[in-house]
Symmetry: D2
Subunit: 401 residues, 4 copies
């Protein structure tokens, strides 16, 4: 079973993590800019820990941990596995060194290859399932590697660039078009054999009233008009908790915007750049997304409306920027689908225990690995999160019949 498509994909994904690390120094890889973010080195180790813990420990007959302390250092939040290194102190792990973490990666990869090659066909079912989950897990962390390194570099007044090439300018935009959808009883959630997370299941019915959806995301230029209209000083546009959040954090613009001598700039992985008004606005809290929608006499879509639109015949021609720019805030809180059941064991801690006080984002972003996005994918963050690639697609209800 050396060369199944799954193991090939696993090798590519593992390799891509190293490519994401390539532009960085060992110093860059150790620092943690805030408790929500993790160091690159930690991501590289944790994604390896996942394979060691959930595959090697079960499938190697004479399993020995690569390093006992790594079992604790690189556990993220799995209470079922045991102790964890405190999350806000991940940036203090100057040891193990990056080199040792790369050696850890290599060791675990070699052992996974061996487990794969020697698995019985009965073992292969469970093994494939776990390997697939590990691939998906590592892809999720690949997006975090980029958002977290972006946040770290943004905290440095030297504004270092991660990419060495120049950014390309966006194409000028046409005004937003509203794409209509009829009221409908929908099948929501994942069905069939392909991979999905447990939170996309079970497929079930939801009724959605008629609505329209914007054909593209809100742009930097449009968001700038909102700022210039005094929106950050106008309580009437904001959710009460959002207004308190603005005030306590003294927010006045999206996370990475800087106004220097009257000109707007945005920090990006290309370094500090003049704000491109035709790019989608990004790095907004859900509060800012909702306030913009209020100001634009619209609202955020529910996750069911979004999934309905994304799966619609002809969606790809009517709607743009669904999966390639920013995750899109919805008004749906992150909740279990009716009949949801978490997996048994520590793997069951993957999703269900986070289903409170978080909101669903749909789509995917420029940082999402190829092949990782799906119509039914449910990303989720607290409404205050701004360091992720988060933008705005608008919706409006139509008159009830």
């Amino acid at each position: 079973m050396t060369n199944s498509p799954l193991i090939e994909r696993w090798r590519e994904v593992r390799q891509r993590s190293l490519q994401l690390m390539a532009p960085l120094s060992a110093e860059d890889c150790v620092a943690q800019s805030m408790p929500d973010a993790s160091p690159m080195k930690w991501h590289l180790a944790h994604t390896t820990w996942f394979f060691e813990t959930f595959i090697l420990e079960s499938f190697e007959p004479d399993f020995q941990a690569f390093h006992n302390a790594f079992r604790i250092l690189f556990n993220s939040y799995y209470n079922g596995i045991g102790e964890k290194h405190p999350r806000p102190q991940r940036g203090l792990l100057t040891r193990p060194s990056l080199d040792q973490v790369l050696a850890y990666r290599l060791n675990v990869e070699q052992r996974i290859e061996k487990v794969w090659q020697t698995a019985t066909s009965k073992q292969l079912v469970k093994l494939s399932e776990l390997l697939e989950l590990g691939v998906q897990h590592e892809q999720q962390h690949q997006e975090l590697m980029l958002t977290d390194i972006k946040h770290l570099l943004s905290c440095n007044s030297l504004f270092p660039a991660y990419f060495s090439h120049k950014p390309t300018a966006a194409i000028p935009l046409a005004p937003i078009q509203w794409v209509p959808f009829e009221a409908s009883l929908l099948d929501i959630g994942h069905i069939g054999h392909g991979f999905c997370f447990d939170n996309e299941r079970p497929c079930h019915r939801q009724f959605v009233e008629a609505f329209v959806l914007s054909d593209r995301l809100v742009s930097n230029g449009e968001y700038l008009a909102f700022i210039e209209a005094g929106a950050y000083q106008n309580a009437a546009l904001w959710l009460a908790e959002g207004w308190d959040y603005l005030s306590s954090q003294k927010l006045r613009h999206p996370l990475y915007w800087h106004q220097i001598d009257g000109e707007w700039y945005e920090f990006t992985l290309h370094g500090l750049q003049l704000l491109d008004k035709h790019q989608p606005v990004c790095h907004l809290s859900g509060f800012e997304a909702a306030a913009y929608a209020q100001w634009a006499k619209a609202r955020l879509p529910t996750e069911f409306e979004w999934e309905y639109a994304a799966g619609y015949t002809g969606a790809e021609t009517a709607l743009s920027q669904m999966f390639d720019c920013c995750w899109q805030w919805t008004s749906s809180s992150y909740a279990p689908y009716p009949g949801f059941e978490a997996a048994t064991g520590a793997i069951g801690e993957y999703n269900g225990k986070f289903m409170v006080n978080q909101y669903v984002l749909r789509g995917a972003s420029a940082f999402t690995p190829t092949g990782h996005s799906r119509t039914t994918y449910r990303n989720f963050f607290p409404v205050t999160a701004r360091w992720q690639m988060t933008g705005i697609r608008l919706a409006k209800s139509l008159q009830a019949t």
Copy 2:
């Protein structure tokens, strides 16, 4: 128009606020036990401020405020009205005295009576609407008066009783029965002419898969079994945020429970009482409600399931404790119904701006004024709130067909 049913009801509701105050001293009425709660005196004044601000100011031709400072002191959260006294400092308002607040109540009541008697029939439409809203608003505060005074007295190690009479023991309970409901496309929300809050509108369609609902609320005895099974020490039962909340707050039992020399007691408005195992468990956070449901191999209902069940023919015989014991946590986040529109002006701040990071509770409680409950009523609190009358009704999904 002196004696319409509405003005009669208004008079009764105003009178009831004074009755709720009757067992208390002026000292009891001034203190605020935490930022979430308000002093009795503040409730008495704020409910009066509401009539002064939204009715007298519009309908009196030569309106003069009873006291200019009261306009600020007794505004709760209406940014549209102007400045507010800081919420956590409501307990510092030793002046105006309780007597002055009672004089304020009387003055506003007399002026409302006069406005009512002299209104043109055209004015009466808007006036009735606002008077009804004010009545409903005061009834909401009547429930808060009781929950807030209960919290205040609970902070006093003398455990004073609010009621002078003895509590009555609950009748022994039969085991929970599960009442089944078929999958259905429902009309959810308020329709027709009776009063409702804007958050109950518009009436719209929701599809609900088949489920069962417990016929009664979870009891103190059943919740005690959950505690004794070690639930507060078992992370696997809790939402991740709930587990952190437990740990940081060192929670081990419902808000008002005390274990003294091995015996469980509950602080109530009758003072400290031996725990009555047949009463519904009350004063739980949404985290505790969800963890109990997890332990009981069930879940919390959605607000749509709850409304479906409550409105079902025969609900009153199959289901008990819907409106008379505790508000019932649902798994539904507080969100606008499709097509929701807030009222214009400051009144529009009543509901919509709170629609984030809160969860819907359905039903009503022993503290809810008679005539204030409805099948479509949506109460809401943050998932951490424990000082309200909050309990548990369980649900389970049925096999998808």
Copy 3:
């Protein structure tokens, strides 16, 4: 022994506490405006608890507490006595009522009278010592009653007046004169038979280099010049910790000053008053006192310099405002005198355990009870304290010979 001067003084002091309460309602007496301050009712009860705990419990053969719960509710900080009600929650004690606290006072007073009358001459030594300590303790709380009620009323935007009479305007001031003192080896601390606190002992030697002291306190007008010179925006004038404190608290002026339509007002026990520029500036943190001194090219005196000057022959003609306006910040941290020994038992917790991170204030204030001030008296507060009657006397070092 019914009418010794001590018992007479005790009666007068107990009576004065009631007089201080007289302008207030029961509502005023229950509220606590911040954790540092206590409600009037709590002061009235705690000063009574002191006599009950340290005298009645030892001297009554068949002692029974007036109320068992009061032993805990009205203990301030004596770990040796047992449990305490949490300090920040003193404002929640709506029960016992003010009337019950007054009954508690009366009961304890009657029992103290009886203990006094029936004491053996051997008992009288210890009894007199404790009664004297209780008198001094109650006098200390009488100053706190006034500072705490002032703070409470200041939090109310109605700015209620405690006094019904008008304030008297200050007499115009002459410029500060500098009074010189020669270098000297001093005896510092209390000696002889009169009452003093343990922190004034033992009398010991301190050497002080030559210095000059301002003949009066810094005035409101002088402090206003400091503000108008931009001092609150000039980091160079401030201690580093003071500058951080200013910034985090957004301080711009003394605690009770208000600038309204370009005019400066000060909240006082007479209500809100136009700022009297000839009155000593009051309600300053030690940071503000030190920054003012820095700006005025002077410094704060040490407590030894202050005591030296106060005890000097002719001090009363050369120096004014020593004991009758504001406590005066010194640059001396609150530390034990060489050879200091705390009393044994719970009484020993009176002073010694606070000797860290506090600064000594010398003199007395307009709120200090008559007969309570002394040249050797050491008051102390954290450098951030502003709600006490705290002002500035300046000093300068002279050239070393």
Copy 4:
């Protein structure tokens, strides 16, 4: 003037900083374990910034900063110089890289050499003074480099060793001897031509009553007896603020002690080691030092007593461990000597502005560079600081004559 003793010493001190860095990786040098500590890389850059800012900028005719951003990034607390990078975010400076910082060091060193060689004899006076200050400043940071890296490594559950060689065991101790000192009028502070910090001046008179001083520091073994006597559970031994600090931080032993399977270990720069009972106890807060003294029926010395003893003829034979183990907490708050004047300009921010809420430590530690200690040296930290090399020498007052 190429080879004066001063420039030679400057070269050695600069070289020693690199030697302190040698056992560390670039990853180790970037991390900051807490706001009080700084990364090694930051120390290396800041000590260079000091020479660039206070010497090159004044003495180079055509001064150009090595890098404009470094002016802000590596300023510590000099408001007079302008903006500063936020202290708690020093660990986010993955750029500039360690290599760039080393290049910065080299560049500034070469320019300092050139300035030195070309200085006029008139310039040399000021230049020597600043170079000396820079040397002393870098030596202070060399102690911090070691305490800060010790703290960082202590946060890592791998407990990495900084030193590769083994620690040497301490020689068994004799019981503490008490060395007596007579009451005396002392000259305190620095006098003469050698270097001292401004806080050691002016030399002035202090009177000290008779006392005894312990001949050595308190040992780990003696401190362990204090722990085993239940001291951390006995409020009576602690300052009130210290007791609150213990409780909130849950402290039970010195900073780097670990109890594993009933055995006590101490984390050191040699890694985790069995506790050596004959070594002086180290890494204590001033609260712990004071509580130990209280338990031992002694007290901490004042800084004047300490300086008296250290300067006494025969002190070197009677007293040990004065400068070679731990800094010694005194009961003296950090305050200006009478007649103290800070230097003008930004250099004046070196000491004076920290003279509040800090306590003086005397002596020196095993981490203090050779030649940096003095009898009159005044180190200072908040009473809560534990990551410095802080220990206990005891004193007792003698009977007043």
